[in-house]
Symmetry: C2
Subunit: 184 residues, 2 copies
Amino acid sequence: MSDKRQRLLDAALRLAHESGLSRTTLARIAEESKVPLGNIYYYFRTKEALWRAVIEVRRGQVEQVLARAATAPDPKAQLLALTEYFLEAGDEISRFGCPFGGLCHDLSQEEGVDPELRAAPLATLLDWADERFQTLGQPKKEARRLAGHLVAGIQGGALLAHAMADPKLLRREIRFLQRWIETV
Amino acid sequence: MSDKRQRLLDAALRLAHESGLSRTTLARIAEESKVPLGNIYYYFRTKEALWRAVIEVRRGQVEQVLARAATAPDPKAQLLALTEYFLEAGDEISRFGCPFGGLCHDLSQEEGVDPELRAAPLATLLDWADERFQTLGQPKKEARRLAGHLVAGIQGGALLAHAMADPKLLRREIRFLQRWIETV
DNA sequence: GTCTATAAGATGATAGAC
DNA sequence: GTCTATCATCTTATAGAC
């Protein structure tokens, strides 16, 4: 039972996040995972297949974050718990960008990846927040708007913090969103 | 008096926006601008020098957008006028991403470009919004927060619309921000 | 299943004729 | 200033031995 596939995935996850999709070559993944270059193709038929697997992992990680947030007692506390994650991961996000939004952005510049799949991490976030706002009594259309505002704020804060290399920009925006959630 | 340099810049601007920085090769720029590949190096010593020029142009475009918004009668109307730009450019942003934020994101994944310069378009936006909120009577620290929230919302909305290929996501967020500006 | 060698093509950059 | 030819390197992918 070999763990090579897992090591390849881990390396691809890490490098794609830290260096961006386009700068992550199979050679670097091979080196990082200690799997010989040619052997990669036994586990992933093409580089694109590897990216598809990476997206699935990120989607799963989003679901984990959401599952943890969902343990909070009420919808408002759950939304706050979600924002808390981006506060905890603030330094990493500031250095490398959001592992979810950044990936979705990079993927929309590649061709050949199914548009539905490549946006899955963000779509999962949006749908989850949408449900919470509905449970809070918001009408369907308004809940969609509020969910969009929350995720846009998070992703925009992550983009600013990353581009300007300043974690404060993300922290301030998250705190701003937290106060906003309290008032909804 | 040759216009080759300008043609090269135009092509680089367009391709970097539509395909992303990493997929924009000198060969494509040469083809698009009808300048022979080898001749590019007479106008730009390296590919990176070309990107530096591209950033400067984008920074100038941001300044133009801000100058237009600054013709509105008061600070609040000026901030609203800024958001209006992202409504007008909504379809293009949804297809290719924000020409300012997307570039800054792509650049932070390249190495060798001065971090100060590469974030210039976003920094210009932030500073301008900051000034307006201060003129509206907000204390320095709060104005910084509000400016961050505005730009984060815009950029996050652009990211969502681009990643999910749905211009509605940006439009909804801009309208949300516009109503928010009215209440500040 | 694993690994080396290498094909095939793309890419940034340069040399040198005009 | 302009352009062709080309180098050196990188990158995805495959062939084929073990």
